[in-house]
Each structure stands twice: as C-alpha cells, then as structure tokens.
Amino acid sequence: MATSDKTAIRGIRLPSSLTARIFGILVGLAAWMLLAAVFPNNLMPFPLETLGLAWGLVESGVAWRHLGATLWRTLWGFVGSMILGTAIGVLMGVNNYSRRFFTPYVVIGLSIPAIAWAAVTTLIFGFTLMGPVGATVLTTFPYIAINVWKGVESIENDLVDMSKAFDITRPRMLARLIIPSAAPFLFSGFRFGLAISWKIVTIAEIFAASSGVGYKLMQTYQLYQFETAWAWAILFIIVILIVEYGFVKPLERRVFEYRRDADFALLG
C-alpha cells in the first residue's frame, strides 16, 4: 500500500519531473554543440548535421540494407540464445546435480569476451549467418540461463503444496503457477538477452560479415569518415529506442499487469 501512495504522489509531481527531463535533454544538446564547436568538424559534427547525414543514409536506402542485416542477425542470435539459455537454466533448476554440472559452463561462458567468440565463429563458419549468430548465442546464453535458473528457484513451495492439496495436475500447475511465477525472471532474461544480442551482433559484424551496422561502423572508422560514423550511431540508437519503447515496454506492462507498483530497471 505504501508504495502505491508513493506513486500517486509522484504522479502529482509530474510537471516538475518533466521540467527536469527537458532540462537534462537541453544540457545534453548544449554539451554536444560545445564539443562540436571545440573539436574539428569531422571528429564531432553538430547535431543537425548528423541528423542530415543520417537522413541521407535512409533516403539512399543504404541504411535499410545494413540495419536490416543487423536486425535479422540479432533476431536469430536472440532466439538461439533464448532456447539454449532456457534449456540450461531449467536443467540447472531441476536438481542439485544438474545445477553443479552446468554451473561451470555458465561461469566460464560469462568470462569469455565476445570478440573471442566472434573470431572463433568467423574462422569456423566464414561469412555466413552462422558467424555472428553463433557468437551471439555463445556470449548471451549464460545470462539467460542464470535468469531462468533464478526463476525456477524462486517458485514458492507453499503454493506448490497448496496446489497439491487441491489435487491440481502437473500441466495446470505449470501453466498457472510455475510459468507465471518464473515470468519476471524469464522476462528479465528476455530483456537482458535482447539488449546483449544487439551489442554482440555489432561486435561480431566487425569480423564475420560484409554488411550490418557493426561492419559499416568499422569501415567508416578505417576510412576516416567520422561524420558518417556518427550518422550510423544515431540511426542505430533510434532503432534501439523504438524497439525498447514501442515493443518491449508495452509487452512488459501487459505481462505484469498484476504487479501494479513493480519497478523495472532497464536491464533487470
């Protein structure tokens, strides 16, 4: 109850929080202008210049090709790491032996840098879809496995006992108790997985592709086209924000309707 009061109070003070946000954005823009004025223009273009360049990339169609390639790889990397991560996470939750058996894989997996996987999968699979996707799956799955495992561990024994007392069958328990109970963890694994997949795909594209935002960014750097690099960065951030606010946040709200005052940090 106390928390919902707090939200109510916050709701009333919305105007002042809006002022603060606008202030924050203005300060950011001012800092950008200042940097652009101090640095040589090709190192740090002005905001409008950058947007213009970005628009140029969109208009010429180059942007779609590379953004599309990156999105496509992100999708497959994400799906693959969700499958592998969920499988290992569930296995870790099943019993003590399997938890101990799979823990080293997760721990070692967390300690291997993405560039190492990117190099390995490129050498194995060449310039195919499997290169960046493989690197993404291998780097991302441990994070998802941990979240799923925590979700399985979090299921309350009291509720399982209650269900047994009322003779609830296993499929119904799974659908009504186990999955909803693990849902926050599954979801935070999902978000984590998505957020990391973006990052790893762009890294893997340095080696393992001849298209994609990571590839273009590296290329512009090597050709000293720094303004274009900024334009790519802006475009990609816009895409990420669209996915974040247009897709993930609404989904989160729907999934967690019952938790009115729950507070979700971006990355779980």
């Binding site: 002042s16 823990t103 291997i112 890294i203």
Partner: protein, 259 residues
C-alpha cells in the same frame, strides 16, 4: 558435499573437453575447430615463451584505468540521482540510452578521438560500464531503509554516525555488486577497444591470430585470458565480497556484465 561438488565440476569440464576432442579428431575437423590437445600444447608453448606477459600487463593496466574512471563517474552520478529527484529525472534518459548503447560505438568513437593510446580503452570502457554502476548505486541510495533511520533518530544517534552505520553500510553492498559488474564490463570493452585501436594487449592478439586464420591461436589467447579473469573474479573479488558482506545471504553467481 565439498568433494562431491568438485567431482561434478570435473565431470562437467571433462565431458565438454571429451566432446570437443571427439568432434575434432573423430570428424577430422582439427583445422576448423582445433582440439583440446592442440590448444593445450600451444598454451604451454606460449606460457614458456613469456610473450604473454607484456600483452596481459597492457590489457590489465587499461582495464584498471577504465575501471577507476567508471567507479568515479558511476558513484558520483548514482549518489546524485539517489539523493535528488531533479537529477534523477534529468539524467534517467541518459542512463536508459547508456545501458542500451552498443559497446562497439563507444570503442570506435573513443578510437577516433584518442587513437592508439591507453585513453581509448579507458574512455570506451567507462562510457559503457558507468551506467550500470550508477543504476546500482542509485537504487541502493533509494532503498535505504528509512525505518532504520527513524530508529536511529529515536535513539538520538548522531547524524554522522547514522550516515556511517546505516546509509553507508546499506549502500555498500549495492555499490560493490555494481562495481564487480562494471569490472566485468570493463575487461570486455577493453579487449574490444584493443581490437579496434591498439598494437598490444589480448584483444589485439586475438585479432592478430584471427587474421593469421589460426583457430588454435585464437583459442589459446582466449583460454589464457579467461583463466586470468576467472582468477580475478572468483579468487579475489568474490572472496572480498564474501568476507565484507558475510551478513548478507547471497547466492549470486556474479560476474555478469554485457559485452
């Protein structure tokens, strides 16, 4: 229980190595996926030659630079955001973007600005890692148990003592968790930045081996670096955390942190 755990650990690592070896030798894929024996032989050779020392030292130095910068920015912003509603609102959008920002961007822009110097990995790592620490510190400050503060004032505990014994103590674990997490990010971004712009370091060597098309070389450097990281994370940081925060029941696997 303890030995039992060790036995299972051995079983699972051996299972992986055997699977790898069977795949490599059984299907004659040693050129494509190398093999445990090849990597082990090359690792021994590398360790004996001593060439790894300078690269490891360079990488570690850059990781520490980046981590120090991360800690300063992350802690200051986290405290400011936790204490003031205004700054919380003003900065939250930047934290959101910062958390989602692909590391490659930070590495490439740092490389453009600072070239082949230690500043490049330092700035890149800090730019990516600090939002995570800020987030943790901010939540820690927000979640200070005000019942304990009320209790303190009911017992006439001085303000300074309350800050030290309640606020500091309750934020410290969050801070440490965030710091560990951002450390993991720092070494990941440092290797990435070395790949983009450096002439030494682990990231540079992995790229070098990759351009030689030597999978064994790539894996050798990866294994070496992973072992060092595992030692730092579990042999040092986790032990510190266990001692300092013994009062907290924690089952975290730790060492998270997106690349």
């Amino acid at each position: 229980m303890y030995t039992n755990g060790k036995v299972i650990f051995l079983e699972s690592t051996v299972a992986l190595l055997v699977f790898w070896a069977l795949l490599a030798h059984g299907l004659a894929l040693t050129d494509t996926i190398s093999s445990p024996t090849l990597v082990f032989a090359s690792l021994v050779e590398l360790l004996l030659s001593g060439d790894w020392v300078v690269h490891m030292a360079d990488t570690m130095r850059r990781v520490i630079y980046g981590f120090v910068l991360t800690t300063i920015i992350g802690t200051v912003l986290g405290v400011v955001m936790g204490m003031s509603d205004f700054w919380e609102n003003a900065l939250q959008d930047y934290i959101t973007i910062g958390l989602a920002l692909p590391s490659l961007f930070a590495a490439i822009f740092a490389a453009m600005w600072f070239g082949l110097s230690d500043v490049t990995p330092m700035v890149a790592a800090a730019a990516i890692a600090f939002p995570f620490l800020t987030q943790n510190v901010y939540e820690g400050v927000k979640n200070v148990n005000y019942e304990l503060m009320e209790m303190s004032s009911a017992f006439d505990v001085s303000r300074n003592r309350a800050i030290r014994r309640v606020i500091f103590q309750s934020v410290l674990p969050e801070w440490f968790a965030g710091a560990r997490y951002s450390f993991a990010i720092c070494w990941k971004i440092t290797t990435l930045a070395e790949l983009v712009a450096a002439s030494s370091g682990i990231g540079y060597m992995i790229e070098f081996q990759m351009h030689k098309l030597s999978i064994t070389g790539v894996l050798t450097w990866t294994v070496l670096f992973t072992m060092v990281i595992l030692f730092v994370e579990y042999g040092i940081l986790q032990q510190i955390e266990k001692r300092v925060f013994a009062w907290r029941q924690s089952t975290e696997i730790g060492i998270m942190g997106g690349a």
